[in-house]
């Protein structure tokens, strides 16, 4: 529904300051995107993709563009490159990489000679109004652009904190790995207050390049997070995406991977926890466009209290994608009678020589496993906690064993303890 004239002021003000700098093509883009958003407004529940998730509360909320805030660095962050953002502003940077490889997106786009700039916006498209609003209002942003064969060994941590009530922050990231480049990127979203975070990330993985991208959502309990991630892979590239949604009041992640080059492979793993009255919705779309492409999707969802989870996973195999191999698994666990999870796996196959499979389950803990552990002397609550942790941790398998996986496991374990504890009260 269109945004009424009287409700536009906050967006116009945010847009005006975002548009102050930048090349003219970008200003034009932004202007158009804002107009589009005003015309179409927030996605409504009538749209199939928003059937389970309502943004009505967000629509009613008084929002504003915040001033630069602070960054919350979590305990035990492993060694690596570190970029800190507060309320969407770049606050700190600790990395030996040159700024042209790892730095602010606005600066990169100002130098139009950079090949990365030409890719900006090409995956995100114009269909989604949340993406349009991000396009209009993002500021500073993040770019990672690795030249061919460039390997960054240590993980690149991007900590994004928002700490103001009513703040709306539209974060924009562009990640480009030229052929043969390798990197690990961990985006951590945290904060405090009833803010709205609306990040858009575009990822290009060049031929034979490898990227592990982790989004760790630890938003504050009152926060809304609507995130969109788009990736395109060239031939024989490898992309591993891990989405851990452990916080926030309403979290929506739209993740779209396009295996566009022959021999490209991807894993998309996720784990979401929905306790209290939280609502966590993952919409994923994996497109096999080229031949001999492979994808593995594993999602684990756990809902407690009156929490609600949604997994909507679509796999599309295009006519040219012969010998494509796609497997999807969505398993979900309900820890309380009032919790709810909707799992909707979908396959659309337009090629004839493919291997595709999917499975989705929603259920409770397996009582025969609980009894087995209890029969060994482990108490009922401890047995259930052990099984719940084991269930969730399957999602972390995409990360190679080591410091990063240990740290992510710790974050997941901590959030799970709080969920189980909260569910028992």
């Amino acid at each position: 529904m269109r945004i009424a004239q009287e409700d536009r002021a906050a967006y116009v003000a945010a847009g005006r300051s975002a548009m102050e700098a930048g090349p003219s093509w970008l200003k034009l883009d932004r202007h158009e995107a804002l107009e589009n958003f005003f015309r179409a407004g927030f996605p409504a529940r009538e749209a199939e993709a928003w059937k389970y998730t309502s943004l009505a509360a967000l629509e009613r909320q008084q929002l504003h563009s915040p001033a630069p805030g602070v960054e919350f660095l979590p305990d035990g962050l492993p060694a690596g490159h570190l970029l800190g953002y507060g309320n969407g502003y770049a606050l700190s940077r600790s990395s030996a990489l040159p700024e042209s490889m790892l730095g602010r997106l606005d600066a990169a786009l100002a130098r139009t000679t950079l090949p990365a700039a030409a890719r900006f916006g090409t995956l995100a498209g114009r269909e989604s109004m949340l993406v349009a609003l991000n396009t209009a209002l993002w500021r500073e942003g993040l770019v990672l652009h690795l030249p061919a064969q460039w390997r960054v060994d240590e993980p690149i941590f991007v900590v994004r904190t928002i700490d103001e009530d009513g703040a709306m922050v539209h974060e924009r990231s562009l990640i480009v790995l030229e052929p043969g480049a390798e990197a690990t990127v961990v985006e951590l979203c945290n904060g405090r207050g009833d803010y709205w975070r609306n990040p858009v990330t575009e990822i290009f993985v060049g031929a034979q390049a490898r990227l592990l991208y982790v989004r760790l959502v630890e938003d504050g309990v009152a926060a809304t997070h609507t995130g969109a991630l788009f990736a395109r892979q060239a031939q024989d590239s490898r992309l591993d995406v891990l989405s851990l949604a452990l916080g926030g009041q309403l979290t929506r992640q739209d993740i779209a991977l396009d295996l566009a080059g022959a021999g490209a492979s991807a894993t998309l793993h996720g784990c979401f926890l929905a306790g209290g009255r939280a609502h966590v919705d993952h919409h994923t779309r994996i497109e096999h466009t080229a031949a001999h492409t492979q994808s593995r999707e594993i999602f684990r969802g756990i809902a407690a209290g009156r929490g609600c989870g949604v997994f909507d996973g679509l796999i599309v195999v295009r006519p040219g994608a012969q010998k494509a191999d796609a497997q999807q698994s969505s398993r979900n666990l309900l820890l309380s009678p009032h919790a709810e999870i909707d799992a909707k796996p979908q396959l659309e196959i337009y090629a004839d020589d493919v291997k595709c499979g999917h499975g989705a389950t929603v259920g409770r803990l397996d009582e025969s496993q609980v009894f087995y552990l209890r029969s060994r002397g482990i108490g009922d609550a401890q047995a259930r906690a052990l099984l719940t942790h084991a269930f969730a941790l399957e999602a972390c398998a995409a990360v190679a064993p080591g410091t990063l996986r240990d740290w992510l496991t710790q974050r997941l374990d901590g959030a799970l303890d709080r969920l189980v504890e909260g569910g028992r009260k």
Partner: protein, 255 residues
């Protein structure tokens, strides 16, 4: 140690056990034999405390306590161990994690200090040797992808680690080839002691070629129809279960 008297158990309202009496003393090994569907596994599960079994009459006393009042974990901590007929697979929980948590729970209940990681590993090594298991299996998820023989050996390993007072082995011999059977039997024999009692629940006599029981009981249609010494097992092997009068009075078959 274990005294079962007049035990009646129903599952979903259907009577399965119809008046069982069984007394097992410390140091004794008893074999409970019987055809399929006789209630052998039900008896094993009721002793371990599995839910879904309704005790409609009778009682079970264990070390002079009312066993039926205890939760499964309390029974385990008090020294009862059930080796499962179908050991459960638990993806994501390492075997060693279970052994360590379980042992420390049991030790705490016995008033002993918990073992630290090094002492625990040393201890587990000695137990692995006892059952002839590869160390690699410690770090795998519990029973996940284990062969039938590995699963049964894993049960005996857990028993060896936890050192129960009363061990119930539910069809531990089923589905084993002769080497695995011998390995399991060696493990069991090594754990025989004058303080420990064992109940072997089995359909076939062949396990009893390797583990000599003190007493043999025949369970049929929910009743103990015959009890005797080890020679009873051989007789069953020769003649099958058909010659027994399964409608015999309970009183005649008391152990």
């Amino acid at each position: 140690m274990l005294e079962i008297s007049n035990l009646h158990v129903a599952v979903n309202g259907t009577p399965i056990l119809k008046g069982i009496d069984l007394t097992v003393r410390a140091g004794e090994v008893h074999a409970v034999m019987g055809p399929n569907g006789s209630g052998k596994s039900t008896l094993a599960h009721v002793i371990a405390g599995r839910e879904g079994y309704e005790v409609t009459a009778g009682e079970i006393r264990y070390l002079d306590r009312n066993l039926l009042e205890l939760a499964p974990e309390e029974r385990a901590r008090a020294g009862i161990f059930l080796a499962f007929q179908y050991p459960v697979e638990i993806p994501g929980v390492a075997n060693i994690q279970l052994l360590k948590s379980a042992l420390n729970q049991v030790r705490r209940a016995r008033g002993e200090a918990e073992l630290d990681a090094m002492d625990f590993l040393d201890y587990v090594q000695t137990r692995l040797a006892l059952v002839g298991m590869k160390e690699e299996l410690l770090y795998r998820s519990i029973n996940e992808g284990f062969s039938g023989g590995e699963k049964k050996r894993n049960e005996i390993l857990q028993m060896a680690v936890l050192e129960p007072r009363l061990a119930i082995l539910d069809e531990t011999d089923s589905g084993l080839d002769i080497d695995a059977l011998k390995a399991v039997a060696d493990g069991v024999n090594a754990l025989r002691s004058h303080e420990r009692a064992m109940v072997l629940v089995t359909h076939y006599q062949r396990l009893l070629n390797y583990i000599r029981p003190d007493r043999v009981h025949v369970l049929a249609a929910g009743r103990m129809v015959k009890s005797g010494g080890p020679e009873l097992a051989s007789e069953l092997e020769e003649r099958g279960y058909g010659w027994l009068d399964t409608t015999a009075e309970v009183g005649e078959a008391r152990a």
